[in-house]
């Protein structure tokens, strides 16, 4: 789960990670008011107006602007940013509409650095990465100058050790005793955030050293581990539904795993690996014919008939779907449950595109019987490859 910068900073503040003073704003008038408040509190008219969307690269896309003239200028900037369709390297070409702003005090910045914590799945540890190349895309640094990224791994039995923090500090050129102490304290607070808030990613880019030698998190990005939702009832309030794909939200609410894609073949599959492999095999046979998967949909192992019906309806409703491929290898999932769900959805909404079904595994005979007796125009497939070829042909290619 992704959250906004201002929400991440509110979490940072609770753990003692230094952040600039700032307030969220949900309208242009809001932004003007909080900018005035900030200027009064800090004694400086310099404030920064930042678009809040769930994507990085906001500054480059024109979503972050500095107002040197206090509230009135902040209002003008807010007017430009609020409601804009912000395009960054992470949003895709359509961009994301800005519905929330964050207004923050301006700082006198001496240096911009990078500090991030991530779960390193290969080492099975929390890894902290630091780089002197702050404020730029870390992916770019990793690709072009990987030697500029320094990494330490935390032993969960010991916790983040002081020497590890100092290792990163010295690699970043933070040597002065006072600043070093502040950096170590911040890193330790960030490790607490990662553990207690169940983060899969915690990124401070940039982390800045001010001219007054303070160490401050100028940006904050937290991704939360969806598996830990059961112990964080407060996460409900952090959710921003405007940032999510409505179809994916609908699927999530129904307990389904759905990702929208650009193609024209709707897929209903059980199991994440088989669902990915089904996309692969459609592309394999369809790539030369303009045929590609329209979605990733894993109904999981324990779905009931209602969930399957819901899943199949979501595919039927999509206007970009020109054919449907149902690919099931029943294990815990029984083929008759799938068959009943498919038939129920098709009877309710009507089946207007070709449907190819490949059933295998638990209760396969019963499942096939239900489909055969449904009166629906279904093309049965013996194997995945057979099904993929048939669905490609049905869309109009590969005959």
């Amino acid at each position: 789960m992704k959250i906004h910068e201002y929400q991440a900073k509110q979490i940072f503040a609770r753990y003692g990670v230094p952040i600039p003073k700032g307030y969220p704003a949900f309208s242009v008038a809001d932004a003007e008011a909080v900018a005035g408040k900030l200027a009064a509190e800090t004694g400086s008219p310099v404030v920064v107006v930042k678009a809040q969307i769930h994507a990085g690269g906001r500054g480059k896309g024109g979503g972050v602007k500095v107002a040197k003239g206090g509230a009135a200028e902040a209002r003008d900037l807010a007017q430009k940013i609020f409601g804009m369709q912000l395009v960054t390297h992470q949003t895709g070409p359509a961009g994301q509409k800005v519905r929330r702003l964050y207004v923050e005090q301006g700082l006198d910045i001496a240096r911009e650095l990078y500090l991030g914590a991530v779960i390193d799945r290969d080492r099975r540890r929390v890894a902290f990465m630091a780089s002197t190349e702050g404020g730029v895309e870390i992916e770019k640094v990793a690709a072009e100058t990987p030697e500029k990224i320094v990494t330490v791994h935390v032993d969960p039995a010991v916790g983040l050790a002081g020497y590890q923090c100092r290792q990163l500090a010295f690699a970043l050129g933070i040597g002065g005793k006072e600043t070093l102490g502040k950096f170590v304290k911040m890193m330790r607070a960030l490790y607490e955030v990662v553990l207690k808030e169940d983060c899969s990613l915690c990124e401070v880019n940039p982390l800045v050293v001010t001219k007054g030698n303070d160490v401050v998190a100028l940006d904050a990005k937290l991704n939360l581990d969806d598996n830990a939702e059961f112990r964080h009832p407060e996460w409900k309030d952090l959710e921003d539904r405007d940032e999510e794909d409505p179809v994916e939200l609908e699927a999530k609410a129904a307990g389904l795993n759905y990702v929208s894609l650009d193609g024209n073949v709707g897929c209903l599959v059980n199991g994440a690996g088989l669902a990915m492999a089904t996309m692969d095999i459609i592309k394999h046979f369809g790539a030369g014919h303009g045929v590609a998967p329209a979605n990733f949909l894993d109904v999981g192992g324990g779905a009931n008939q209602e969930q399957v019906t819901k899943a199949f309806k979501m595919i039927l409703k999509s206007t970009k779907v020109k054919a449907i491929f149902v690919n099931i290898f029943g294990g815990i999932m029984k083929c008759d449950v799938i068959a009943n769900g498919v038939v129920a959805a098709a009877k309710e909404l009507g089946l207007k595109v070709p449907l190819v079904v490949r059933l295998e595994g638990t209760n396969v005979e019963l499942g096939r019987k239900i489909l055969n007796e449904s009166g629906l125009a279904i093309q049965a497939a013996g194997t995945m490859a057979d099904g993929a070829k048939k669905v490609v042909a049905a869309v109009g290619g590969g005959k």
């Binding site: 099975r124 088989l274 990915m276 996309m279």
Partner: protein
């Protein structure tokens, strides 16, 4: 012969009184697995009943409050965990502490920070204890012992081993093998979570050492570097043919992997990288998921 599990495996089921645990305990007993005990805190003293394999009448399984008691009373030497996510990591640690050498965790949805702790404890056990999963279908030696949730009837005893990060793709591979008349020695689903127990290399080592395994199907997917490590092992140590499939060639980047995670892996998360590494190591990669068994058969001729 087979690896890790067989006729002499004495299985404990943690969470046997829950709906998933109970359902699959019955299925495992029907398959012929020796289920000797169940454990659910607060349900000690209860009895779990099921129909035994091959018309063997009624099987009665004693339930204990703790894993330690269950092991002491029944000599259980393996456990399978169906405990829901909030208590699953704790259940794994309890099994470790009771001295069980093979722990299979089926549970999907365990927080990754919990698994970091489990993994740390596991490393301290120095390879004496094996963890399979979490978020996996389990392990099966066809005809002898099924631990997990895979459909038993699609399997056939034989000499090909399967190891996979995906449950349903494992069934797909097994289904293809059985349809060709090729049986399996042992199939292991290692699970799809970022942090878990046994990885590909751990399994390949066992398959290499098992005289009854003549070839291996390895099924990977995008993310992490486990397939690349497997490729290195295949190149250096593996003397048996390995056919592979990597799912996710067409998956959109960023949808599933956090970008900083891909940095750590050094650009090793993509399907193309994994396929290249495996082919360089001498494994043959199936062009589509429909060709997994035929690709291996082509190597074993």
């Amino acid at each position: 012969m087979s690896v890790l599990v067989g006729k002499d495996t004495r299985l404990l089921v943690q969470g046997i009184t829950g709906s998933a645990g109970g359902f699959h305990a019955k299925q495992m007993i029907e398959y012929g697995t020796q289920v000797v005990a169940g454990a659910t805190p607060g349900k000690g003293g209860e009895k779990f009943e099921a129909t035994a394999a091959n018309g063997g009448g009624k099987a009665v399984v004693p339930v204990f409050d703790t894993v330690a008691e269950a092991v002491k009373a029944t000599g259980a030497n393996a456990t399978v965990i169906f405990v829901p996510p909030p208590g699953a990591a704790d259940a794994i640690l309890e099994a470790f502490d009771a001295g069980i050498r093979l722990v299979v965790c089926i549970t999907e949805g365990i927080p990754v920070t919990d698994m970091l702790q489990v993994r740390r404890v596991l490393e301290g056990l120095k390879g004496q204890t094996r963890l399979i999963g979490p978020n996996c279908p389990g392990i099966i030696t066809p005809g002898a012992c099924k631990i997990g949730i895979m459909p038993g009837h699609i399997h056939k005893a034989g000499h090909v081993a399967v190891v996979s990060r995906s449950g349903t793709l494992t069934y797909e591979a097994v289904g293809q093998l059985t349809a060709m008349g090729v049986g399996q020695s042992t199939c292991i689903g290692i699970g799809g979570d970022p942090v878990g127990g046994m990885d590909f290399v751990d399994c390949l080592e066992l398959f290499q050492a098992d005289p009854d395994t003549h070839g291996v199907i390895l099924i990977g997917e995008i993310g992490g570097g486990a397939e690349e490590r497997a490729a290195r092992y295949i190149k250096e140590k593996m003397k048996k043919p390995v056919a592979a499939f990597i799912a996710g060639t067409t998956a959109p980047p960023g949808k599933r992997m956090g970008h900083a995670g891909a940095i750590i892996a050094g650009g090793k998360g993509t399907a193309a990288e994994k396929i290249r590494a495996l082919e360089d190591a001498g494994a043959r990669v199936a062009p589509t998921p429909s060709d997994m068994a035929s690709t291996l058969a082509g190597m074993m001729k």
